[in-house]
Amino acid sequence: MTTATASAIERSDNPYALSHLDALEAEAVHIFREVAGEFERPVILFSGGKDSILMLHLALKAFAPAPVPFALLHVDTGHNFPEVLAYRDRVVAEHGLRLHVASVQQFIDEGRLRERPDGTRNPLQTVPLLDAIESNKFDAVFGGGRRDEEKARAKERVFSLRDEFGAWDPRRQRPELWSLYNGRHAPGEHVRVFPISNWTELDVWQYIERERIALPEIYFAHQREVFKRDGMWLTAGEWGGPKESETTELRQVRYRTVGDMSCTGAVDSDAATIEQVITEIAASRLTERGATRADDKLSEAAMEDRKREGYF
């Protein structure tokens, strides 16, 4: 039994009360096991960001003492933070996992994708993702999406059916009742599964703190050479920034999300430990996506539109 469970019980009149983190954990584990029981070839989308790291941690607990019965799939934009790639390779080795990599760069090199004028590669991930799902015949794809992230995601089901083009149709979603998840799908279709749908950013951090889960260093305050574009601090690097009109400076920053370097912004921060990060988030007046994601600002329905195309 974890210390958090013990403290929750001490606080309450009901000796069987669960803390909100224990309740969310039990629910997420239930979802992982449902997929293991019902699908042939599930895979966990793994970006090296905190949400996918959390998913992997939950999967490890769900099947202990047996290994996780799923492989990982990393959609590699080619604009990765080196610390994140190093982290990815470390956990894959540590837990004896299998890793599939779908590479945006490879698709560009082969002429199957074209670089966008703005240099952002996040929307380009959809094509290699769907290609990897099709060629590996994955029938369930775990994503770390949370409904608190964005209002289109607030409407997404835990088991979200995608057609043979990977598309999401919000009007044709299956109603989801109790904890009865319907994973039926035709050949060629697949189901996106979101075991941490009901978690908020703060829940994720509190759980990471409680479970002492290691994260890539970029989540904690560090000195970094950055430049300002569209109101966000971006990391200078080979991906194509800064332009001539933009100047870099050394700042004390950290990241709230991990994504493509070209569209993921850093925030000014002195939070160097998980405890300090939690204090900072609890006081923040900005959502994590509002603070750090350029691609969501493209239009009022940017996320919904990308999800309709097969984005996770």
Binding site: A23, H30, P65, R171, Q173, L180, N182, A282
Partner: protein, 441 residues
């Protein structure tokens, strides 16, 4: 661990649902709860202000916080359940925000299926209307343990106590007839903020809690020690590694009750009895576990147990192949007698035949009427025959082991939500059998 973090992580979780049409001010109430509990962050508010300005609205339209999809914004409607999250220092909340129009009964059923509390909103000027009765009936049917009547727009009736008292009395009597015993009525103005988060200076005659205060303090969860243990097996864990050569654990989430090492349990539907040799909570051995923990159970004997079986203690259900249930039909294709479907109950999916559509229930009047089929959003009574026996509890006794889905085997669509056993705590004076007779129409 610092004390702030400790307090934050030890808080409990309340899942609740709201019901009420746009006209009753539901979107405003949800917006007010999110806004006044400081769960709306600056960039979200800025986006709402921006969108409101672009449409020429003078004040930020808080409904835009909750209407997320393109079609909803274009048409100004809400098409599906959305889930919202907010927190106070005392509790964390998952709100199932369900549209309340008559054609969306299925959405309220969906939202209520996981809710421990339902907020039914009425307009103080209109009082209890047909729709209010429908919302109360759905909450009763889904066995939502706590109901809050939020009498909204008190500012438009001069904050008059007699108006509130009359509505509260009428609603409480109706809810009581449905078997809902825990009703709390709160007079509010979502627009002005009276009694939502802050107590209202305009209604000093009201001595009860604000809506948020009630949400923060209503007891959550049931007492697992008072329920028989129910453990649907999800997955068999067999590492077959050098370290764990003989480990064989049954993974699942305790649907109800408490399990202890040494307990005598029965594996259903086969009916074999054995004892619990060990319990692991996500990798850590323990002597006791309780609902709704996700655990792994090891049994003393090496008997045949697989996904779909139910490990049960206490009075155990008798496995049946004939199922009588109240259902809510969810799909545009009607449900008809003779339909062959799949039935998903806990972790078990079996083939089933719709033997009989008994009757449909008018959810406004609770009157049954004969029905050859059930259309989308209709609630009715059906008899099913399953290909394999199911260890079903009555829904009244156990929301988790008494509920099921009907699925179309052809395309996998979720057709129908089912609840085994009697509906409405027996309040529905339904004739047993002979659905063809019309004398009770």
């Amino acid at each position: 661990m610092s004390s702030t973090i400790d307090e934050l992580t030890a808080t409990s979780l309340l899942r609740f649902a709201t019901a009420g049409s746009v006209d009753d001010g539901k979107s405003t109430l949800v917006g007010r709860l999110l806004h006044d509990s400081k769960s709306v962050l600056a960039d979200q508010l800025e986006a709402v202000e921006h969108a409101s300005r672009r449409r020429g609205q003078a004040a930020p339209d808080l409904a835009l916080l909750t209407d997320g999809l393109r079609a909803e914004r274009e048409q100004g409607i809400t098409i599906d359940v959305a889930y919202r999250y907010f927190a106070t220092a005392r509790r964390r909340f998952i709100l199932a925000d369900t549209p309340g129009h008559v054609q969306y009964t299925r959405n309220m059923v969906t939202g209520a299926s996981t809710a421990e509390l339902a907020v039914v909103l009425v307009d103080a000027r209109n009082g209890v209307v047909e729709q209010t009765r429908r919302h109360a009936a759905v909450a009763a049917l889904l066995r939502v343990p706590h109901v809050v009547l939020a009498v909204n727009k008190m500012d438009l009736v001069d904050y008059a106590e007699p108006v509130f008292a009359a509505i509260a009395a009428e609603f409480t009597a109706y809810a009581d007839s449905l078997g809902v015993t825990d009703v709390v009525a709160v007079p509010i103005s979502a627009l002005a903020g009276d009694n939502v988060v802050e107590p209202s200076a305009n209604m000093d005659w009201y001595g009860g809690p604000t809506l948020l205060e009630h949400l923060e303090t209503v007891p959550v969860g049931s007492d697992p020690s008072s329920e028989p243990a129910r453990f649907p097996v999800q997955y068999v864990i067999r590492p077959q590694s050098a370290e764990h050569p003989d480990y064989r654990g049954y993974a699942g989430q305790l649907a109800s009750g408490v399990l202890r090492k040494g307990d005598t349990v029965t594996v259903l539907p086969a009916g074999r009895t054995t004892t619990v040799a060990g319990i692991d909570v996500l990798g850590t051995e323990t002597d006791i576990a309780w609902a709704p923990q996700s655990i792994t159970v090891r049994l003393a004997e090496d008997i045949d147990v697989s996904r779909g079986d139910l490990i049960a203690a206490g009075p155990v259900p008798e496995p049946v192949k004939d199922v009588e249930a109240t259902v809510c039909h969810l799909h545009e294709r009607p449900l008809k007698a003779g339909d062959k479907v799949l039935l998903k109950h806990t972790t078990r999916t079996v083939r089933a035949l719709v033997k009989e559509i008994g009757y449909r229930v008018d959810i406004d009047t609770l009157q049954p009427s004969p029905a050859g089929e059930l259309n989308v959003n209709e609630i009715g009574r059906v008899v099913l025959r399953t290909a394999e026996p199911l260890a079903l509890d009555a829904y009244a006794d156990n929301r988790r082991t008494g509920s099921f889905l009907l699925i179309d085997p052809a395309d996998g669509a979720t057709l129908t939500a089912g609840m085994a056993g009697e509906a409405f705590g027996g309040a529905l004076a339904a004739p047993a059998g002979e659905p063809e007779e019309e004398d009770w129409v």
